[in-house]
């Protein structure tokens, strides 16, 4: 059924129920009035009033009235003199006055169950003056209604409960799927591409259709992303065998070739090695992407950073790497993943930091997290691109950066490793030039939701 009709029906039913209850209660009030007017002991009260009038005159009747202001529950007693004034100076209810003035010919227009003789009784005093004893309903108050014995309270309670329940169910019915879809949207935006709402919103109204559309969108999105990653992975995978064969063929050629070809073959060898590394990095990244939880063993980042720094100095003897160590707690994580992560940042700094400029590597830590800060003194990155350096194959300036290589994917690996460990990788330009990349690794892995 369409949501429109559901809301229409729910609100309509709730309002109809309320109206019906109200009508029913007012009819019951009428019945009660009738019952009250015919209460037991009515005759006795009339006799007492007559006796008080006979013995004490109007003053005696007044005294008696003060003692009998409420002859029965919900009932008031009035006495009108022949001029229509109430003895105790009260204002009789308008309905009572109207009833008393009603002509017999208009009797049919009166409320069906109340007649003047039922509520009034004529009394004649010793001096011959006439008085009218009037039984009137005491004003109905909410507190009064609650004290009534029997059905009215029950009816009111039922109406109240029904109203609350109906609105509660309707509100939940409407908001629950929206909340679920909101959560799913957030999960999707956070990169959990296998997020679906389908099973949790199985309905045949607008909500259900929206959920279905959401799932179709997520499916398509996942396909597109996976296609891209699968293509990258498959291409890299397929590159491996030819690359391995090229390497061996090259080695054979190098052995046979003379001096003249040696430098060209060495160049080919370097390029093949770069391709090898790129293929390895792509494979590593696609594997990390499919992982949801890293290996967890105690890792001393101090020794890993030391190794990375030593390796970087080994690879590039001219690099000026200034390392500031400190004692940090062991973290739980994947040692080789963490090493790649740190290595890629340091390599990036060495590659883009500029010739003869130092690269500063700083290790600090608290009991909660370990921080690795790598700062170079190069040209930095345009402010709007600073966070994009963690995207695969992102290049700061495509027109200028053709010469460099192998770095297209390294920082993406870093970011993914950090993400897997519940840590962060951030970059910022330093005010006095150069780029600073900060890696934060929590000491204890964060609790992660099972849905990931």
């Amino acid at each position: 059924m369409r949501l429109f009709w559901k809301i229409f029906a729910a609100v309509g039913v709730a309002m109809a129920a309320t109206i019906a209850t109200t009508v029913w209660v007012s009819f019951r009030l009428g019945d009660r009035a009738f019952d009250q007017l015919n209460f037991e002991g009515r005759e006795r009260i009339i006799d007492e009033a007559a006796a008080a009038l006979q013995t004490g005159g109007e003053a005696g009747l007044e005294r008696w009235m003060w003692r009998n202001l409420r002859p029965a529950p919900g009932m008031a007693l009035l006495v009108l003199d022949d001029r229509g004034n109430e003895l105790l100076g009260r204002q009789p209810p308008r309905q009572v006055m109207r009833l008393l003035r009603t002509e017999p010919s208009k009797e049919s227009r009166r409320p069906p169950n109340v007649r003047p003789q039922q509520i009034t009784t004529e009394l004649v005093g010793p001096d011959g003056r006439e008085y009218r004893l009037v039984f009137a309903l005491a004003p109905v108050t909410f507190g009064g209604v609650l004290t009534w014995p029997g059905t009215q309270v029950a009816v009111l309670t039922t109406a109240l409960v029904a109203a609350i329940l109906t609105s509660l169910l309707l509100a939940r019915y409407l908001s629950a799927p929206i909340v679920r879809m909101q959560k799913a949207t957030r999960a999707l935006a956070a990169g959990n591409l296998d997020t679906r709402v389908g099973p949790s919103v199985r309905r045949r109204d607008e909500m259900g259709r929206l959920a279905k559309d959401f799932d179709a969108m997520a499916e398509r999105l996942q396909m597109l992303v996976m296609d891209k990653e699968a293509l990258l992975r498959d291409v890299s995978h397929e590159f491996r065998s030819p690359l391995a064969r090229i390497s061996v063929a090259l080695a054979l050629a190098q052995r046979q070739a003379g001096e003249a070809a040696a430098s060209d073959l060495a160049r080919i060898e370097r390029e093949v090695e770069r391709l090898n590394e790129l293929v390895g990095q792509v494979m590593q990244l696609t594997r990390l992407r499919t992982q949801t939880e890293p290996r967890r063993v105690p890792v001393l980042l101090t020794s890993i950073v030391e190794e990375v720094v030593a390796d970087a100095r080994f690879e590039r003897a001219e690099a000026d790497i200034r390392y500031t160590p400190s004692v940090v707690p062991a973290v739980l994580g994947d040692p080789s993943g963490l090493k790649s992560a740190i290595e890629n940042v340091v390599r990036n700094a060495v590659a883009h930091g500029g010739v003869d400029k130092p690269v500063e590597v700083t290790l600090t830590g608290t009991t909660k997290e370990v921080r690795i800060i790598v700062r170079d003194h190069g040209a930095g990155v345009p402010a709007e691109d600073v966070e994009r350096i963690f995207e695969p194959f992102f290049r700061v300036d495509p027109s200028r950066d053709h010469g460099s290589d192998g770095q297209g994917i390294g920082l993406a690996i870093t970011a993914r490793v950090m993400e897997l460990h519940g840590g962060t990788a951030t970059a910022r330009n330093c005010p006095d030039g150069g780029l600073e990349v900060e890696l934060v690794v929590p000491v204890t892995p964060p609790e992660r939701p099972k849905t990931a």
């Binding site: 391995a244 061996v248 054979l252 494979m283 020794s303 390796d311 690879e315």
Partner: protein, 237 residues
């Protein structure tokens, strides 16, 4: 000098043909098998000095070949060719008793260097003049290639045995990662080289390494080295 016999198990036959051609002048006679199960049968003949084993094989996987080979009691050194970018392969391979690994695609010069390194180490171990070493509760018998911990034999791979023996010889002193790689793996330390660290981590597991400092420990030392530390009570006595 007779040529060393190398068995290559890899399904890329065009590659293995070229490798055979490349390795022959280096005194290595190559036999190649493209299939895991036939390669395993050939490896079990014990006629080879070294086996180069690709992880990805049709039929029986490289890991499975290695496992069955070691289970059948063969101690022939194995060099694993792992998928580049996959650390898990490397760790699993070394844990299962491979002597070294090389990510594929590789530079054939590097393959040659590693093959030679493994062969040299195996040859050296056979001519070791020390017969027995003893540190704390550890006793190593060099010729039988056997280590006892509190009298119980430890199940060690070739590489693990050599690393432990090297550390035992220098017990109490730091051995640098370079030296360990050279003596134990028979080659120089390369950047991004995690063979040694993986072997050490496996050794620690087998020695029952724990953080509270009981028993024999292999400690990492700042400045990239390792030291074998006997239990404190043993050294005081």
């Amino acid at each position: 000098m007779s040529a060393n016999r190398v068995l290559i198990i890899d399904d890329d036959t065009r590659l293995t043909e070229m490798l055979a051609e490349y390795l022959a002048p280096e005194g290595l006679s190559v036999t190649a098998f493209a299939n895991g199960s036939t390669g395993l049968r050939e490896a079990q003949t014990g006629e080879y000095d070294l086996i180069v084993l690709d992880v990805m094989l049709p039929g029986l996987s490289g890991f499975e070949v290695l496992r069955q080979l070691r289970e059948s009691g063969s101690e022939t050194p194995v060099l694993m060719l792992t998928a580049r970018g996959d650390d898990v392969d490397r760790i699993v391979g070394l844990e299962m008793g491979a002597d070294d690994y090389l990510p594929k695609p590789f530079n054939p010069r590097e393959l040659l260097a590693r093959i030679k390194a493994v062969l040299r180490r195996t040859a050296e171990a056979e001519h070791d003049d020390v017969i027995e070493l003893s540190v704390g509760p550890l006793r190593a018998h060099m010729q039988r290639r056997e280590v006892l911990l509190d009298g119980e034999p430890l199940k060690l791979t070739n590489a693990e045995f050599v690393i432990l023996a090297t550390l035992m010889r220098a017990a109490g002193d730091v051995v640098s990662r370079e030296t360990l790689t050279r003596t134990a793996l028979g080659r120089r330390l390369l950047p991004d080289d995690r063979s040694l660290d993986t072997h050490i981590s496996n050794l620690r597991k087998k020695l029952g390494h724990d953080e509270d400092g009981e028993g024999v420990q292999i400690r990492s030392v700042r400045g990239s080295g390792y030291v074998l530390v006997p239990p404190p009570d043993e050294s005081e006595r």
